[in-house]
């Protein structure tokens, strides 16, 4: 067993070997995650309907993220108004402030920043909670009590996040536009009529629709990735810690990548 032979491998061979292996295991994980996620989502049609658990998750993940969403939304709107005002003032077109703030928030910042906040607040807790349930054998206990943990644990969380994200992003948008109005009109003296009129004139329905579609897709991504990472985490303390970090990183990066793809479709 201990007879180890030395084989000289070139750095290039080692590099490609690693690349190949990590690509393969990445693909495997992606497939596993997709199958697990859709398997859990598919259980939505089977009885018993998990209504109560879904409401509890919507409370924990949605209502729980409300405060952070309102705060980030407010400051995003405020800083956009401030920045936008000084840029626009150089061209004498401060009246476009409403359009600038509204466009940036509704199309990009609302969905993306909102998704980031929800990942940090709700996504990490999904992974950590499911991971700890695995460490303490609570998922096995459910299994032995003839309760499918995929249906009881994963499904309500995924559905709750898919529904919570668009609602939270819409609240983020409204708060951001409102706080932009306060900074622009009350502090910097932009004409209130111009702020609203330009906002309404420049932001079209397809912008709002695009923002909404983005937030639903982000919710789906966050729910899938974070519950997968928790469910398949190594059931040890370090395993759960690592899975939580990875869940946050992977969901954030995928949100950015998917955001680019969706934006290129909608422009």
């Amino acid at each position: 067993m201990s007879d180890v032979t030395f084989v000289q491998q070139s750095a290039l061979a080692v590099f490609f070997g690693r690349l190949g292996r990590s690509t393969l295991s990445g693909m495997e994980k992606l497939g596993d995650a997709t199958m697990l996620g859709f398997h859990a989502l598919g259980l939505i049609f089977s009885k018993p309907w998990q209504g109560k658990h879904f409401v509890l998750q919507l409370y924990a993940l949605g209502v729980g993220s409300l405060a952070i969403i309102v705060v980030t939304g407010a400051f995003t709107g405020m800083v956009l108004a401030l920045q936008g005002y000084y840029t626009l003032a150089k061209f004498g077109s401060e009246s476009l402030l409403g359009a600038g703030v509204g466009m940036s928030i509704i199309r990009e910042l609302g969905p993306v920043l909102g998704a980031f906040m929800i990942i940090g607040r709700a996504g990490s807790s999904i992974t950590a909670e499911i991971g700890i349930m695995r460490v303490t054998e609570q998922t096995d206990a459910l299994e032995m009590m003839a309760v499918n943990p995929k249906r009881r644990i994963l499904l309500p969380r995924i559905v709750a996040v898919i529904i919570a994200v668009p609602l939270l992003v819409a609240i983020f948008d409204v708060v951001g536009i409102g706080s932009g109005y306060i900074v622009g009109v009350e502090l910097l003296g932009v004409n209130p009529g111009a702020y609203i009129a330009e906002l309404v004139a420049k932001v079209g329905m397809h912008d709002i629709y695009g923002g909404l579609v983005k937030s639903v897709v982000f919710g789906f991504l966050i729910g899938m990735i974070c519950s997968y990472m928790g469910y398949r985490s190594t059931p040890t303390t370090e395993g759960v810690a690592q899975a939580t970090t990875q869940a946050v990183v992977i969901s954030s990066v995928s949100v950015l990548i998917v955001d680019y793809i969706l934006t290129s479709f909608y422009l």
């Binding site: 409401v55 409370y59 209502v63 668009p166 609602l167 609240i171």
Partner: protein, 149 residues
């Protein structure tokens, strides 16, 4: 159980607030068709729409009084626009609609100039008098042509 009722209530309020936010965005900011709209529509035919699009402004005396609902090609020949005019704005039967530009390179819009008639247009009727976009290239060639004479 009491605690769960409170959770349910809170979740309900949360969902309603979220839906209100979505509808505010859609109706007030996005001006989604049908729900948030008021006023009436008029029709106008132009030889050249000159870049006016759905959602462009309709202005009178420099004040926005409505927006363009649609721009379509009629008889493979000229452009037909449906204008949505805000409630309470009366436009005379001999009013004049023209395609204009805000500033030199700004957005295109429809300018409506009131006529002398006492009667105003009924909803759905047509503005007869129209002027198409001023095409700068046409202007230049006209100038060169007249210079030769």
């Amino acid at each position: 159980m009491q605690a769960y009722r409170r959770v349910e209530m809170t979740v309900g309020v949360f969902v309603i607030v979220g839906l209100l936010a979505i509808s505010w965005l859609a109706i007030k900011v996005g001006q989604v068709g049908g729900i948030g709209e008021s006023g009436y529509t008029l029709i106008a035919n132009f030889d050249d729409a000159g870049g006016v699009r759905k959602g462009s402004d309709v202005m009178m005396a420099g004040v926005a009084i409505g927006r363009i609902n649609s721009v379509t090609l009629t008889d493979n020949d000229h452009a037909t626009m449906v204008l949505r005019i805000n409630e309470g704005i009366k436009i005379t039967e001999d009013a004049f609609a023209s395609v204009r530009t805000k500033g030199i390179i700004g957005d295109r819009y429809i300018r409506i100039t009131q006529g002398m008639d006492d009667t105003s247009l009924e909803p759905g009727s047509e503005i007869e008098e129209t002027e198409s976009a001023i095409n700068i290239e046409d202007l230049i060639s006209k100038y060169i042509f007249s210079g030769k004479e």
